[in-house]
C-alpha cells in the first residue's frame, strides 16, 4: 500500500487559491488499481457518456474509439474502449484514467488527475487537473458498463 504524497501536498497547497480549491482528491493506489471512488461515492454513467462524447472536454475520443459516437471522428492512437469493462476491474480503470504514467511513464495518455511535473501549461489550465474527481467517477461508471 502506497499513499501518493503529491496529491496530498497539492491539496494542501491548493487550499489557499480559490480556483484550485480541492482541485485534487486524495486517493490510494493498491497494485495497479484505485479501489475506492475519488469522491467517496459512485459516479453517474449517463453523465459519463455525455462527457466522453464531449471530446474537447474529456479528450478520450481524440485517442480512443468507443461504442458511443460516430466512428470516423474517433482516434486510433489507443485501444478501443469497447469491452474495457470486461478486461479491467473498476479500480484498474480508475487508476488508468487518474494517472496512466504510474504504470508507464512513457505513455501518451494524459494523467487526468495530476498537476505536478508539467511544463508551460496554458494559463486557464494551470493548477487544474484535466478532469475533476467527480468527472472521473462519472466516466468510470460508464466504462465499467462497456462489457463488449
Amino acid at each position: 500500500m502506497r499513499k501518493r504524497p503529491f496529491a496530498t501536498l497539492a491539496l494542501i497547497v491548493g487550499m489557499g487559491q480559490a480556483q484550485a480549491d480541492d482541485a485534487l482528491a486524495p486517493f490510494e493506489v493498491v497494485g495497479d488499481a484505485i479501489a475506492r471512488p475519488l469522491t467517496g461515492a459512485a459516479g453517474d454513467a449517463g453523465r459519463g457518456e455525455r462527457l466522453l462524447l464531449d471530446r474537447r472536454r474529456s479528450l478520450c475520443l481524440l485517442c480512443h474509439s468507443g461504442p458511443v459516437a460516430e466512428p470516423h471522428a474517433q482516434g486510433t492512437l489507443a485501444p478501443g474502449l469497447g469491452g474495457v469493462g470486461s478486461r479491467l476491474s473498476q479500480g484498474q480503470i480508475r487508476l488508468r484514467i487518474v494517472d496512466m504514467k504510474r504504470l508507464d511513464p512513457a505513455t501518451i495518455m494524459p494523467s487526468n488527475h495530476r498537476i505536478d511535473g508539467l511544463e508551460r501549461v496554458a494559463a486557464p489550465y494551470r493548477g487544474q487537473p484535466v478532469l475533476t474527481a467527480g468527472e472521473i467517477e462519472d466516466i468510470v461508471a460508464l466504462l465499467v458498463t462497456l462489457k463488449e
Binding site: R55, L59, L61, L62, C63, H72, A73, Q74, G75, T76, L77, I108, P110, S111, G117, L118, E119, R120, V121, A122, A123, Y125, Q128, V130
Partner: protein, 252 residues
C-alpha cells in the same frame, strides 16, 4: 563490427520517418483538398500571392523604394530563396525566417515600419516570395552558426509540454498517419507555408500552425516572432531538407 555500428548510427530515432518515407501533409489530405491546392484557379491562397505581387512593386517609406527597386524581377531574384530559410541574419546574430527577413528589409532598406505578425500584407509578401520556389527542394543552409539554434529547435520538438504533457515528436514522429479524433496526424513537414487553412478560412504562417499545436496540448504558445518559434521552424526545415516546396498550400 564497424558495419553494425554504422547501421545503428544510420537508423532514424524512435519512429521518425526515414528519408524515403517522408511525406508532405498534402499526402494525408482528402482528394478534394488536394485538388484545391493543385489548381491555382481554385487555390484560395493564390489571392494572397497576387496581393504580394502588387506590394512587391509598390514604393513605400521615406525613400519611396519598392522591393522591386532593389530586387528587380522576383521570379528571378527570389527563386530558391524560401527553400533556404530560416537563415542566419548578421543584423540580429540569430536565425530569421522568411517573414522576418522581409521585415528586416522593410525596416532597414525601404525604410518603412515593419508589418505586424500575421498581417495580410506580410503573409501576402511572404507567400509571393515563397511561391517563387514552388517545386524546388528545401535546401537548409550549411551554416555552422545555425547549429545551436537548430539543436534548440530539436530539443523543443522533443519536450513534453502543456496540461496534456505531449511532445511534438510523440504525435509527428511516432504516430503519423494515425487519427487524432477526426484528423490524420501528418509528419509536420513545413513544405507549404504560408498556406490557406480551411479551418482558419485564411492564409496563415508556419508559426501560427505551431502555436495551434501548442494550444492543442493546452500549453502556453510562444508569442509570434519568439526565438523559440524560429528555432522550431529551423529544425523542421532541416528535417524536411530535400522535400519539394508547395507554397502556397491548402490544409484542412
Amino acid at each position: 563490427m564497424a558495419f553494425v555500428l554504422a547501421l545503428v548510427l544510420a537508423l532514424p530515432c524512435a519512429g521518425e520517418a526515414a528519408a524515403a518515407d517522408r511525406r508532405s501533409g498534402s499526402d494525408f489530405m482528402a482528394p478534394e483538398t488536394r485538388a484545391m491546392q493543385a489548381d491555382d484557379m481554385s487555390n484560395p491562397a493564390m489571392l494572397w500571392v497576387a496581393d504580394g505581387e502588387q506590394s512587391w512593386h509598390r514604393p513605400e517609406g521615406a525613400a519611396g523604394r519598392a522591393c522591386a527597386t532593389c530586387h528587380g524581377d522576383a521570379t528571378r531574384s527570389m527563386r530558391g530563396v524560401a527553400a533556404r530559410y530560416p537563415a542566419f541574419a548578421e543584423a540580429t546574430g540569430r536565425p530569421v525566417d522568411l517573414s522576418g527577413r522581409i521585415n528586416l528589409c522593410r525596416r532597414t532598406h525601404q525604410p518603412a515600419p515593419p508589418f505586424a505578425s500575421e498581417s495580410r500584407e506580410l503573409l501576402a509578401l511572404t507567400a509571393y516570395v515563397a511561391y517563387q520556389s514552388r517545386g524546388m527542394p528545401i535546401a537548409p543552409p550549411q551554416d555552422p552558426r545555425l547549429d545551436p539554434f537548430r539543436a534548440n529547435g530539436g530539443a523543443l520538438y522533443e519536450r513534453r509540454i502543456g496540461q496534456l504533457d505531449l511532445s511534438c515528436a510523440a504525435c509527428h514522429d511516432a504516430r503519423w498517419g494515425q487519427q487524432l479524433g477526426g484528423s490524420v496526424i501528418p509528419q509536420a513537414h513545413p513544405t507549404a507555408y504560408p498556406l490557406y487553412r480551411l479551418e482558419w478560412q485564411s492564409v496563415g504562417s508556419l508559426q501560427r500552425r505551431l502555436r495551434n499545436c501548442m494550444v492543442g496540448v493546452r500549453a502556453e504558445p510562444y508569442a509570434f516572432g519568439a526565438p523559440e518559434l524560429v528555432d522550431l521552424e529551423l529544425f523542421l526545415m532541416g528535417r524536411a531538407g530535400g522535400m519539394a516546396l508547395e507554397t502556397p498550400g491548402v490544409r484542412p
